[in-house]
Subunit: 391 residues, 2 copies
């Protein structure tokens, strides 16, 4: 997931004050929406046809709270696709490029999903609620429709629908303390990607050790949309002694922590092998799954592009920097000629690296080397290879 | 389609100045984006994972230009699903609840699309480019993925992909004059939902007499994303003598003109029979199509809810009004008790009616009568039945 930027936008032409967002019924508010506004929400984006908090006005403070204390995020837009019935496992296994066999009840796996040609169409975590019941906790595409089509056309005996489930994330080094104060010391023993049913003052949720940051914490999968503000305020109150701050998925932290953002990092036409998700695929499993043949062939010939993490030169980028930017390998003459090699998908200041950094999707031939990019303001920046994403 | 409101938002708690939108790579800009900014864009929304113009700062002026002169809209977010190959017609016919047989090359049909349980999942126009080639011009859901799954799982011989096509709409009573000045008098003879290939200074597009208003006009389906600003500026220049204004899908005009907005008017769980699209379905055709059995059963028993157009009491609503709002039938005592009957999905001032109006999705039992609703500010409004939507 990706906050879609955050902060006012430095638009070409110097549009003052950034652009507003129009609200309407086409896009849903989350059960936490009123709490967001009460806590100073300034910027929104849209994710899975829902409003998602982009910023509360101070991206630096949001980053700091996340890596030093604890942060509270409305991630209700991480919708669930529920699959239930005798063939639930068959469907989940067939649509997942990762082997889901052996995933125990109460455990989740990160399982990229590809279309029949091996193109990545989502990168959910799949939660096994029972042997015949799963939640596919999705990134930003309507794989609900896609899973429904596959199930129906194959005649599988399962229901596929969106349940009333709205995750709220508590992330950061003090997240365990906050949730332990709320629910008890037992929560500290919950393993990564382990989950249990829980409740608080009658507010029902599934508590999972997960979340889209590298700082640790939990997601509370609220199962009663009428109780969103109640849950937010209970967690907020428990977090105040620990300096809790409202936030959302955080662009620089998630790149520092090697967390992939479907669409932001790749558009809608990349393969999981291109974007560094190979270790989450089970290409050698015996059973068939959607995209298997295409992915095996791609592994054989090697991916055409690679997603790389780079350091970028230049003065500190602001939260208002827009992307993507073009990328090219300079010509021998050193001038701005040279060959286009892809694009910088995201670029942002990294406190951890004390430098600008970026994620670039570039031709495999040049993915290990330096290249050049240019900001919307026309400044040419040099990009230094830091790592292949996910390696 | 729906602009998602537009204008600054009166949020609960009186958030000043409305909410900003964060820009980032996860959501695409259209080929016209720079032109929008140059022409004073103030508000955006998101549609099909693209930014879409919400307002240029004066909704009244935008309405007036549309109904009295001519308006220019970036509707690139109306993406195309291209289906090409020997089985292209078989796929298009199987996924459309409307019979596509007999649709000639160069003609389009509005063809609602349902899932296997008869729930509306999109309401595209389907354009026949050749006997083996179609564009499905979609509303806001990823039916690209859904169509790909259906084609692959049925083993149909066709490619299903998103081409480089970005519609630009010229709408309003002077739209014909503008487009005739650009391309020639012949455009006046193009029939409704008829289209032809055209070009302007080497900018290639498909010209179709269509658009999401009741004011007449064209959509120019640009087929080279690098030429967006060029095309915008050419049309703009031709429109200046006619008082052209930048705009976008216009909430009050489209309701006055009985144009349905998928999601805005119904959420994601309504049937085409509930929302007044029965006349666009071909339920009695001989061949099977997705959702047919469910829709036939629903027609037999009658839809549970109906979408109705209502007049709403109270002072003029502003463009900042948020919805949906709850709807209920007052109890016998006339107090605010009574029975919940659904919701007002959209509510807006109607210049044509000189009154507030709304679209409400309510229980069939009470859909012909009056009911009551309440604004976020707590004002109770009475709703008077005007028409069943689409009848």
């Amino acid at each position: 997931m990706n906050s879609g930027g955050g902060g006012p936008v430095a638009l070409p032409g110097g549009h003052p004050g950034g652009l507003g967002i129009g609200l309407g019924s086409r896009i849903r508010k989350s059960p936490y929406f009123e709490a967001l506004v009460a806590h100073g929400l300034t910027h929104l984006t849209v994710y899975n046809h829902m409003y998602m908090p982009g910023s509360f006005g101070d991206p630096d403070a949001e980053y700091e709270a996340l890596v030093e204390r604890v942060s509270l995020w409305d991630v209700a837009c991480e919708r669930q696709v529920e699959v239930v019935g005798p063939d639930a496992f068959r469907l989940v296994q067939y649509v997942s490029a990762r082997d889901m066999a052996g995933c125990a009840v109460g455990r989740a796996r990160y399982a990229p999903m590809c279309d029949h040609s091996g193109v990545l169409i989502n990168d959910p975590i799949v939660m096994c609620l029972a042997e015949d019941r799963y939640w596919i906790s999705i990134a930003d595409s309507d794989v609900l429709l896609w899973c429904q089509a596959v199930a129906a056309e194959r005649g599988l005996a399962c229901r596929v629908f969106e349940p009333d489930v709205s995750p709220l994330a508590v992330q950061g080094p003090r997240a365990d303390d906050v949730v332990a104060d709320l629910l008890g010391e037992w929560v500290r023993d919950l393993p990564f990607f382990g989950f249990v049913e829980a409740s608080l003052d009658g507010i029902p949720f599934v508590l999972c050790r997960s979340g889209w940051s590298g700082q640790g914490g939990f997601e509370l999968f609220l199962t009663d949309g009428a109780r969103g503000v109640d849950l937010w305020e209970r967690v907020w109150a428990a977090g105040e002694p620990y300096g809790i701050h409202p936030g959302g998925p955080t662009l620089n932290e998630r790149i520092e922590s090697d967390l992939f953002s479907y669409r932001a990092d790749c558009g809608a036409l990349a393969t999981p092998l291109e974007v560094g998700l190979a270790r989450f695929l089970s290409l050698d499993r015996d059973d068939d799954f959607i995209g298997k043949a295409a992915l095996l062939a791609e592994r054989e010939r090697g991916p055409a592009r690679r997603l790389v993490k780079v350091l970028l030169s230049g003065a500190r980028l602001t939260a208002t920097s827009e992307h993507p930017w073009p990328a090219w390998v300079p010509g021998d003459s050193g001038d701005s000629g040279g060959e286009s090699c892809g694009e910088v998908r995201v670029a942002v200041w990294s406190p951890r690296h004390g430098s600008n950094m970026g994620l670039a999707l570039v031709s495999s031939q040049v993915a290990g080397g330096p290249f050049v990019t240019v900001t919307p303001e026309g400044e040419e920046l040099s990009a230094t290879h830091l790592a292949f994403f996910g390696e």
